[in-house]
């Protein structure tokens, strides 16, 4: 099966004065893929997205969006793309339903579709609530509904989960998964690495205008070959005894727990089981955050 390419970005550069916001970025997103662009604030994620959407012309490089050039403003292409912007771009004083109706009208969409969208993002009971009275999470979901109201093929979401509380964030994850299940291609930016790990098929890690790594999150983590940490309650095992266990590379103890680092977790866990010390045991493998820190060699600046 060949999947066609929804978005192809080739070697784009963009400078603002001395600042190289985007410095040679290339990537491709397949149809139906959930693609994440990760990185700290100021990494160049938003600028990359803006160039891909056709809002800006790159200094150099090319963009093919659904097979067409998005710049200059391509009226034939616009109905096929959906965007959710960082600021909540809503009309003044309208209810959730009216916002959707108005955005829908920009694309010639009927109001039956509006109900479907409210349902999708779980705002059916908030249909007649003014947008200004919605919570942060509800507003983001409405914003995503407005991006999807005309049934686009590809959706760009710029930090949809920023500034949301954990519940609202999980809630939005469900919406995003549902959107992907409907066959949409999703390109989204975030600075939450844990979230990208859960949601994305593939991620590009960006910093200072460059892509540092790009792959499936699990593969990035595996390639890191980082140590697995096994954590026990303090006192469950003496540190000296722990150091003698098979596969234990490093042992550290603090007031609450004893942490054993290993690259071969299987024999270590077997030995721990023999000692009968599996109570309260936690195993922590590397995360995308470790990948990021490894790549940038800096404190992660979320």
């Amino acid at each position: 099966m060949t999947t066609s390419t929804a978005l192809a970005v080739t070697d784009i550069h963009m400078s603002y004065g001395d600042l190289r916001a985007v410095d040679g970025v290339s990537f491709e997103v397949a149809e139906g893929e959930f693609f994440g662009i990760l990185g700290p604030n100021g990494a160049g994620k938003t600028t990359t997205l803006e160039i891909a959407e056709g809002l800006r012309e790159p200094d150099s490089g090319t963009v093919r969006l659904l097979g067409e050039a998005p710049w200059p403003r391509n009226l034939a292409l616009l109905p096929k793309i959906g965007v959710q912007l960082q600021a909540s771009a809503f009309f003044e004083k309208l209810t959730a339903r009216e916002q959707l109706e108005t955005f829908g009208a920009l694309y010639g969409v009927t109001s039956a579709r509006v109900d479907e969208m409210l349902e999708l993002v779980g705002l059916s009971d908030k249909a007649s609530t003014p947008e200004a009275k919605l919570s942060g999470g509800q507003r983001q979901r409405l914003s995503i509904a407005c991006a999807l109201v005309h049934d686009p093929d590809i959706v760009f979401l710029d930090e949809p989960t920023a500034a949301l509380d954990p519940q609202a964030r999980r809630n939005l994850w469900d919406v995003l998964r549902e959107v992907q299940a409907r066959g949409k291609t999703i390109v989204y930016t975030t600075h939450y690495l844990d979230e990208a790990e859960v949601l994305c098929d593939r991620v590009a890690i960006m910093d200072r205008g460059r892509i540092l790594a790009m792959d499936a999150p699990a593969r990035l983590v595996r390639d890191l070959e980082a140590a697995t940490r096994v954590i026990l309650e303090r006192g469950a095992l003496a540190p000296d005894l722990a150091r003698a266990l098979p596969g234990a590379d490093q042992v550290a103890q603090d007031e609450v727990s004893l942490t054993i680092s290993t690259r071969t977790p299987a024999p270590l866990l077997a030995a721990l089981a023999e000692h009968g010390t599996l109570d309260g045991l936690q195993v922590r493998t590397a995360t995308l955050e470790d990948v990021f820190l490894e790549l940038t060699g800096r404190e992660y600046r979320a």
Binding site: A76, L78, A89, K93, F103, L106
Partner: protein, 364 residues
């Protein structure tokens, strides 16, 4: 058997500009009527001015001069009959003089037998001259009457309707054009600034809509607001307590007012293009509308301002709008009077609108 699987390709048709225009206009009107602050500043605030000015200057025009009177004699009833002054009686000259000294009365008249005394405050020369002339006139008449001879000359007086209008006649059109300028300048400026800040403009740029549909919808909102303002203010000014009297083809003012609205809207677009925040935009809009209203004679006639300022006033679209509206609403003129103002307003809108379009920014 082979099946070729093809994705259902929607031919994505751009919606007709007219339906986009209607949807955005509907959203605009809804936003407008739900915004209490905007409603206040476009309707209630100018209406307050109309009511306050109407009550201050209302009724029988300028109030009469008050003078104090002391004592008895033929001059005092004659003054009363003259109907030009309002008399306040005092028992003693000291009491009356105290009032004049305190500045509460411009003058007092005392008649003691054949002697008539007039004492007036030195501060207000105009009032003093008026009172002086009036009292000596009455005294002279009384003198002639006392001689028993027929006067050598008779003076025949009667009223002529003059160019200078009663305050409400003058103010109603002026306050309407000021109110409309608030609605259109603020409406355009704040919309563009807030749409840019909230990235609504960016969102619209990413939708298959023509900029003219977006702009047109905001213009329609401003025109609609202007029509409501016109009806409301004319309606209130017509109430007996304000006493506006419209002349024949007063409704001709409405098309001119709509042209004026367009010119104000173009000013608002220009403000909206330059300002980054709503606060800045509303400050600049105030800085434009209020001086423009004064210099265009929206509140007070411009007869007494220096000639150079008169010349300056013709630079404002509101001055032309005002003159045209006064001509058809209260001076009884016809459509001919609107020709020049209408052409000026159209030209102003075209020039300022063109500049605004040139400096327009989608993003900060």
């Amino acid at each position: 058997m082979t099946t070729t699987e093809t994705r259902p390709r929607r031919t994505a048709p751009s919606p007709a500009s007219s339906s986009v225009f209607l949807a955005l206009s509907k959203a605009g009107f809804r936003g407008f009527v739900r915004d209490k602050a905007t409603l206040f500043f476009t309707f209630l605030f100018p209406l307050m001015f109309l009511v306050i000015f109407g009550l201050i200057f209302g009724g029988a025009g300028a109030s009469k001069t008050k003078i104090g009177v002391v004592g008895e004699g033929a001059v005092i009833p004659a003054l009363e009959r003259s109907d030009a002054v309002e008399l306040t009686r005092f028992d003693t000259a000291q009491e009356a003089e105290a009032q004049v000294k305190a500045g509460d009365l411009p003058a007092y008249v005392q008649q003691d037998g054949d002697t008539v005394t007039l004492r007036f405050a030195a501060s207000d020369q105009t009032q003093a001259g008026l009172v002086n002339g009036l009292v000596s006139g009455v005294v002279n008449q009384a003198n002639i009457a006392a001689t028993g001879q027929a006067p050598a000359f008779t003076l025949d007086t009667s009223q002529v309707e003059d160019e200078s209008l009663k305050p409400i006649q003058y103010m109603a059109p002026g306050i309407i054009s000021w109110a409309v300028s608030i609605g259109a300048v603020f409406g355009a400026a704040l919309t563009f600034v807030s749409w840019r800040k909230k990235q609504v403009l960016r969102r619209l740029r990413l939708a298959p809509v023509q900029p003219v549909a977006v702009l047109g919808s905001r213009v329609l909102v401003s025109l609609g607001v202007a029509v409501v303002q016109f009806c409301l203010f004319v309606g209130v000014a017509l109430l007996p307590m304000f006493g506006l009297r419209l002349s024949g083809q007063w409704w001709l003012a409405l098309p001119l007012l709509l042209l004026g609205t367009l010119s104000f809207f173009s000013i608002g677009m220009l403000v909206g293009a330059f300002c980054k925040t709503e606060e800045a935009a509303s400050g600049v809009a105030n800085l434009i509308t209020l001086p423009m209203a004064f210099l265009s004679g929206a509140f007070l006639p411009l007869d007494n301002i220096p000639p150079w300022l008169q010349t300056v006033s013709w630079a404002f679209p509101m001055r032309h709008l005002n003159e045209g509206m006064l001509d058809v609403m209260v001076r009884g003129q016809g459509v001919d009077a609107l020709l020049v103002p209408a052409m000026v307003l159209i030209a102003f809108t075209a020039v300022v609108g063109f500049i605004a379009a040139k400096v327009f920014r989608w993003e900060d």
